[in-house]
Symmetry: C2
Subunit: 200 residues, 2 copies
């Protein structure tokens, strides 16, 4: 875990063509410390890690996030998951499942006067973007209703319950792009970290 962070930092440094001392100066961290961190031999405090991130021009969150590996994924129209829900509405998932990325892109068509129901609150930091292609969509964020017409777009923080409904007399088609943060709920506690035997 430490070495992974180290190689990640080193990779970013090499990408920018920086030497240890250059980055050390830019990040206001000693060269030796930087070297140790890159090789996973020392665990930096968040303050120095934040300085390193700043020196690299990335956010601290970016540094600790797992790196991306997949390169190109194409989903043909025929391969896309189209779900015809009982209520007469149709959803098409446009985005592929990419490990480490919590992005979903969905095209939905609702028949006239149809309520797609409410969705639960996602973890803090989740966002959703909506664009209406045709028709009228009533978006309800927590308890606040917003009416969107053709061409309107909206953004909202998705950490509250939210619902979609077609309030018009014709069908309504809209796109939803969602960045969902994952939040694990109180796992039975991993015991793989039985630290405490190294203290004398």
């Amino acid at each position: 875990m430490l070495v992974a962070l180290g190689v990640r930092i080193q990779g970013l440094r090499h990408d920018r063509g920086l030497t240890l001392q250059q980055l050390a100066e830019a990040a206001d961290v000693s060269v030796g410390m930087l070297s140790s961190v890159e090789r996973g031999q020392k665990a930096p405090t968040i303050v120095v890690l934040a300085r390193i991130a700043d020196g690299l021009g990335v956010s601290l969150a970016d540094l600790v996030a797992e790196p991306e590996d997949t390169r190109i994924i194409v989903r043909r129209a025929a391969d896309q998951d189209s779900v015809d829900e009982p209520g007469g509405w149709r959803r098409t998932v446009l985005s592929p499942v990419v490990p480490g990325v919590n992005f979903e892109w969905i095209r939905t068509t609702l028949p006239p006067d149809c309520d797609a129901g409410r969705f639960p609150a996602y973890a803090p930091g989740s966002h959703e973007y909506v664009v209406v292609e045709s028709g009228t969509l009533r978006l309800t964020i927590a308890d606040t209703p917003v009416d969107l017409n053709e061409g309107d777009s909206a953004y909202f923080a998705a950490d509250v319950t939210h619902g979609y409904a077609n309030t018009g007399s014709g069908p309504c088609t809209y796109y939803v792009a969602a960045l969902i943060m994952r939040a694990r709920v109180a796992q039975p506690r991993t015991r793989h970290t039985s630290r405490g035997l190294r203290r004398g």
Copy 2:
């Protein structure tokens, strides 16, 4: 900066109804340390911060990410930036600018046989998603061309040069959703410089 992290941790702990000792046990961290961290009196190393994040059931990246403040942003169709480029193609930016979120959602229409040109490589970790609404789109990732027809969607890592072109005889309309990572190039220390994002 440290106190901000502290109150954030404390808030998450209170949300879960945990006491210092409960979280300390769940996170395998001493109570005193946890207390100090919550009040910003000590700077934890990433290993203990990772354990704390684990105990809270959130990812390390979630912990260090700035909290979201904006709640709902609506952009009416009339307010959206529609740019008619010289080449005869039209771009509409659907996503609003949200601080801290590097997400852009754009609808583009290209006239027949039009090349929208190539875009530079973004920072590692950047992604793009594409959906073709109508027509035929030739996507070029690095040197790999991919042809997308109506309804096809694609994902690719945007840290290489990439281009869009309409190779068909009719107009082509497509959506691009982009998560762009920011990367600064070796500035002379501190001072958070701007972050200019733009996307075609």
